[in-house]
């Protein structure tokens, strides 16, 4: 996984709350068995609408999505994260994220930064008044900068460390494989098994 320390890119204002994973990527695109190539599927229903924000030329190259609260609700599909990454997004900012979506993002190096809704509104205003304005997401300093705005960003310590180091979770867990084996030896024998 690539390291994430800070990123600067065009901010995209998405003034919707409750953007669920069916909107981020509809189920018809989940039939693929690959992990890449989902960029066309991102927000596919909305992208048919000419007025949708990503169809605006100034936002098309956006890499920081600034969304309403409760982003990523619904299904566990990691395809939602792959689609955002494949499109070119490096970070999503929202006042609140759904738990599974936030977890999936962390595994894939997509930063989910929590901002106060007031700060989100101020950033929306800047991005709408001057489309194409860049946003800096600084994980090291835990802050977001956009024009004159400097907003504190919440990311938990462990996720921040993993993202800044670019560490892979499975590799980290494998360091404790002996402890896993010890735990297994102590599991009650009444626990079910799927194989005879």
């Amino acid at each position: 996984m690539d390291k994430f320390i800070r990123h600067t890119g065009v901010g995209v204002p998405l003034r919707y709350s409750n953007v669920d994973t069916d909107q981020i990527i509809p189920a018809v695109y989940l039939k693929r068995v690959s992990r890449t190539g989902f960029e066309d599927a991102l927000f596919s229903a909305w992208r048919h609408d000419e007025s949708f924000v990503l169809n605006h030329p100034s936002y098309r190259s956006g890499s920081v999505l600034v969304a309403g609260p409760d982003f990523g609700t619904g299904s566990s599909r990691e395809h939602a994260v792959w689609a955002l990454k494949d499109y070119g997004f490096k970070a999503v900012l929202s006042a609140r994220f759904a738990d599974i979506f936030r977890g999936n993002s962390g595994k894939q190096g997509l930063l989910t930064g929590e901002l106060d809704q007031d700060d989100i509104e101020r950033i929306w205003q800047v991005l709408e008044d001057a489309p194409g304005t860049e946003v800096t997401v600084d994980l090291e300093q835990r802050e977001v900068r956009c024009a004159e705005i400097v907003a504190p960003m919440q990311v938990d310590d462990y996720t921040r460390w993993r993202l800044m180091e670019g560490l892979d979770d499975i590799g980290l867990t494998m360091r404790h494989i002996d402890e896993i084996a010890d735990f297994e030896a102590s599991r009650p024998s009444h626990k079910p098994r799927t194989l005879a």
Binding site: N18, K31, S76, N104, P188, H190
Partner: protein, 477 residues
Amino acid sequence: MGKTLAEKVWDAHVVRRAEGAPDLLYIDLHLVHEVTSPQAFEGLRLAGRQVRRPDLTLATEDHNTPTLDIDKPIADLTSRTQIDTLRRNCEDFGIRLHPLGDTEQGIVHVVGPQLGLTQPGMTVVCGDSHTSTHGAFGALAFGIGTSEVEHVLATQTLPLRPFKTMAINVEGKLRPGTTSKDIILAVIAKIGTGGGQGYVLEYRGEAIRSLSMEARMTICNMSIEAGARAGMIAPDETTFEYVQGRPHAPKGKEWDAALEYWKSLRTDDDAEFDTEVTIDAEELEPYVTWGTNPGQGLPLSSAVPDPASFAGEAERAAAERALEYMDLRPGTPLREITVDTVFIGSCTNGRIEDLRAAAEIVKGRRKADDVRVLVVPGSDRVRLQAESEGLDKIFTEFGAEWRFAGCSMCLGMNPDQLSPGERSASTSNRNFEGRQGKGGRTHLVSPLVAAATGVRGTLSSPADLDPTPLPSRDHEH
């Protein structure tokens, strides 16, 4: 201070706890399906890793599978490729698979409990957000993403941050015509789609205690719709009775040992929840959703709300967007909304009790003329049981289509989809835009409301039906 049920199960599975790091939790059961697993198996191959515990892993085919002509090759090539990929992965990594056509095939969250693999006090995960279903047994069960699927396959563990706990107290008794689906729709309407974020919900109280296991599963299933990764109900005699005798239930001395442990799985009297919410079951009516998220629900006796009546700007904007998508006008009584399709099925309401409840309503009646009614059992075992009770005949005589098991129209990954603009009353769990097919409009309902809606063609509860079923087929509407 005592512990909550969730904390007890969590603590019993901690492999490793270290300052500044998430707990490493052991996973007792990993359920796998075709949609969220291919990239995880690919990851294992690329890293040269094995599946650590195939004996704690079970796969089934459900999301993509057709519900008609299941003996023929799957027509959709990408669906067929995904199914074939799961079959190859299970063979290569030694995982037990119940493929389409197998008697144990079905929706992963129907299959686990039915086989007795879901038991109290376990940790259960699956690359599917409705894994919360299994919490009905007093298990800690939650959905995970594909990276986590790979993590569990490789290590049988997951690094996780502790959840906060929320008690949902459902006091009093449900009135006739209301069901556990109405409880959970009311809970979500009350706390919102984000209300449960970061929490494990524990459903408690008289109304919950009196529910059957299947009704409890319906409630826990939709915990994720309130934003909670997991929902739980403390195991009791109802739970033990359901588990006992199933293929994978403990037997003999093992049963006794398990039972002793399971009986300790309840929230201690002096334990404290981080948050508590109380709902009065006596006040509940059949609930339906009017919008495009499961929190946008109201009693069936209400009218479509006016967006101007919502407090916050975001809420107002969300309601406006939802009404536009749903093509509804404020003030329209919900009972006057006409539907094109009724879907009875899914991991929320595709179990035998759901089918029995719906069948009892439609028995001897004839569906409304322009409504398509689709009945999809949650598993092949449910289908066989229903057929042995003659429910399939009741449904087909009603005018419904009786199908083979799978996720079907809940998410429309197979051919069972709504057309653009089509409106459904659906016993499933999500009313998101396009969820059941591009441009489709979904109203979430209980099996009773679904059945009554099939009779009248507009959103209805059994109380709206004529008292005596009509004997003839040529009833005029």
